[in-house]
């Protein structure tokens, strides 16, 4: 079961997700070791494969570094649920085939350590801890197409 790691913060930026001092590599496993390091130094010890990050608005603002998506994915995170996303992070996630969920009431309906089950097809998050079902608007069709193809480059190849 996927566990929620909730950060009640807006504007969690790419410098916090993966500090530039680690950008001298693009190795996903290496980047993953430092995921969210400047926000929560214990995150990589806590996170389990399939877990979910939950945050406020403007998640991933700042740099264009795709390393932010790779660090999160490399750490085993399955998806990020946020009130909103910064635009380059949003593109980077889609282009990598990494699903993200925009949910304005993210911080109201999900508590830290809640167990979540996500049905992407029907836009439904089942909060197993609270017993609440949370509806979300799936990503637009063009984005889902890219994600389902396995990322932008595969999508282009297919076209």
């Amino acid at each position: 079961m996927a566990k929620a790691h909730v950060y009640k913060r807006d504007h969690i930026n790419t410098d916090e997700i993966i500090p530039a001092r680690y950008l001298n590599t693009d190795d996903e496993a290496e980047l993953a070791k430092h995921c969210l390091e400047d926000l929560d130094v214990h995150f990589v010890k806590k996170v389990q494969p399939g877990d979910i990050i939950v945050a406020g608005s403007d998640f991933g603002c700042g740099s264009s570094r795709e390393h932010a998506v790779w660090a999160i994915r490399g750490a085993g995170v399955k998806t990020v649920i946020a009130k909103s996303f910064a635009r380059i992070f949003y593109r980077n996630a889609i282009n990598n085939g990494f699903n993200i969920i925009e949910l304005p009431e993210a911080l109201k309906k999900i508590n830290n350590a809640d167990e979540l089950q996500i049905d992407y097809q029907n836009g439904l998050i089942k909060n197993k801890t609270t017993g609440i079902d949370i509806k979300f608007a799936p990503l637009p069709d063009f984005a889902l197409e890219i994600i389902n193809d396995g990322g932008l480059l595969e999508h282009i190849k297919k076209k």
Binding site: N13, P19, N24, D26, D38, G62, S63, E66, N92
Partner: protein
């Protein structure tokens, strides 16, 4: 149908007569920027997909800048991957070390930015190029890989927001103060996904270098691009800098084009600003924060590392001594030489500053001025996020080159007008 300048440029790039906000388009890319940290991953992706070609070797501009000259072995490996790729594909505009510089200062200076064109780069500050009535936007490495291979990229046409600059800047107040005032008002996601269109009489009075400082920071309000109209000042800059390809198309916003919002600023009332940690929206007038002790001053970056910025700093530092360590980083080799030829290096040296080679370096906590735990830096850069310039418990205060220079002299946040009005 009435369109904004951003919509017109994107319509042309998509080969359409018109586009509207929210519309998905496939845009042709005119210039594709490649830098050291984010391009090597794109090169690897292309190799993994078996794509060993570029769409047009004359539409790609390559410069290592973030960690150049290589700051460590891993960075050297990134540079090596970039270098091998650029040579193999015979990239026409490849600025190797010695001619490499901070990309957003380098490309306009070397004549690669033309009005009406679409410029993408794997660096968030690619929005700088909007100062030239062009569409510039930052993208990630996968987008870059796709663009390098196909010369096209998907975009959602952004809604536009008008930012109107009325009045006239007072002495000691610069375009950096203006953009910090804008972001302080609208917030770091105040223009999320939008085109920020800057207009107004105060803008008309600014040089191209000053204008670039404003469009450079559009991303700090979450914008997709920042853009400005073409005028005589633009034309003169282009006349002096365009080399191989000198023709371009000028687009203008229609009078009845639609804007999602408008913000008006009386620039006569803007004071020198300092963005307090840890968001670029933390701007307050210097009069509200003067006196706070600093450990370092940093003058450089794609925001404020151009020759006019160095001149402003030098004028204040002339015949003075700095009280804290002060790092001056001319953004490109041309700026570096110009500063040396104009005697600015003598002023910086005499004041006790260190002058570094062109690099993004410490702006992103890379090297050449990284902060220790608890240290505070007055910086002419664009971001003051947690850990941005070094230790997660260090602090960055964003300001103009004038405020940074005045602060360097006194070792504490200082109103630059004190030095400017005196001289």
């Amino acid at each position: 149908m009435a369109m904004t300048i951003t919509e017109k440029i994107l319509a042309k790039a998509a080969g359409k007569g018109k586009v509207a906000p929210g519309e998905l388009i496939d845009a042709n890319i005119d210039i594709c920027l490649c830098v050291d940290v984010t391009t090597p991953p794109a090169i690897t992706m292309l190799a993994e997909k078996g794509i060993d070609k570029v769409f047009d070797a004359e539409k790609i501009v390559v410069t290592p800048d973030h960690f150049q000259p290589a700051k460590d072995i891993k960075s050297a490996e990134l540079h090596k991957r970039l270098d091998e790729w650029a040579r193999r594909h015979k990239i026409k505009y490849y600025y190797k070390i010695g001619r490499a510089g901070v990309c957003h200062a380098l490309l306009p200076e070397q004549g690669h930015i033309r009005p009406g064109e679409v410029i993408i780069g794997p660096d968030s500050h690619t929005c700088t190029y909007g100062a030239f009535a062009a569409f510039g936007t930052g993208i990630g490495s996968t987008d870059l890989a796709a663009a390098l291979a196909t010369g096209k990229l998907w975009f959602k046409v952004p809604a536009s927001e008008k930012i109107v600059f009325n009045g006239s800047l007072c002495p000691g107040v610069y375009s950096k103060d203006v953009i910090l005032a804008v972001i302080a008002r609208i917030g770091v996601d105040g223009a999320l996904y939008k085109a920020m269109e800057f207009v107004g009489p105060a803008l008309a009075e600014m040089s191209m270098q000053a204008r670039m400082t404003i469009t450079n920071m559009a991303i700090e309000a979450g914008a997709k691009n920042g853009i400005m109209a073409f005028d005589e000042v633009t034309k003169q800059y282009l006349d002096e800098h365009l080399k191989d390809k000198t023709d371009y198309t000028v687009f203008e916003s229609d009078d009845d084009a639609e804007y999602e919002a408008a913000e008006h600023f009386d620039c006569s009332a803007i004071e020198p600003m300092v963005a307090l940690p840890h968001l670029p929206s933390g701007g307050v007038p210097i009069t509200d924060c003067a006196g706070k002790a600093m450990d370092q001053a940093y003058i450089g970056s794609c925001t404020n590392g151009r020759i006019e910025d160095l001149r402003i700093a030098a004028k204040i530092l002339k015949a003075k001594k700095v009280a804290i360590r002060t790092i001056v980083v001319p953004a490109t080799p041309t700026i570096w030489k110009q500063a040396m030829d104009e005697g600015l290096f003598d002023i910086f040296y005499d004041a006790g500053c260190v002058i570094a080679a062109p690099t993004c370096g410490a702006c992103l906590g890379g090297f050449m001025g990284v902060l220790a735990e608890g240290e505070k830096c007055i910086s002419t850069t664009n971001r003051n996020f947690v850990g941005r310039m070094g230790h997660p418990k260090s602090e960055v205060y964003l300001a103009s080159p004038a405020t940074a220079a005045a602060t360097a002299i006194e070792g504490k946040l200082t109103d630059p007008r004190k030095y400017i009005l005196k001289s």
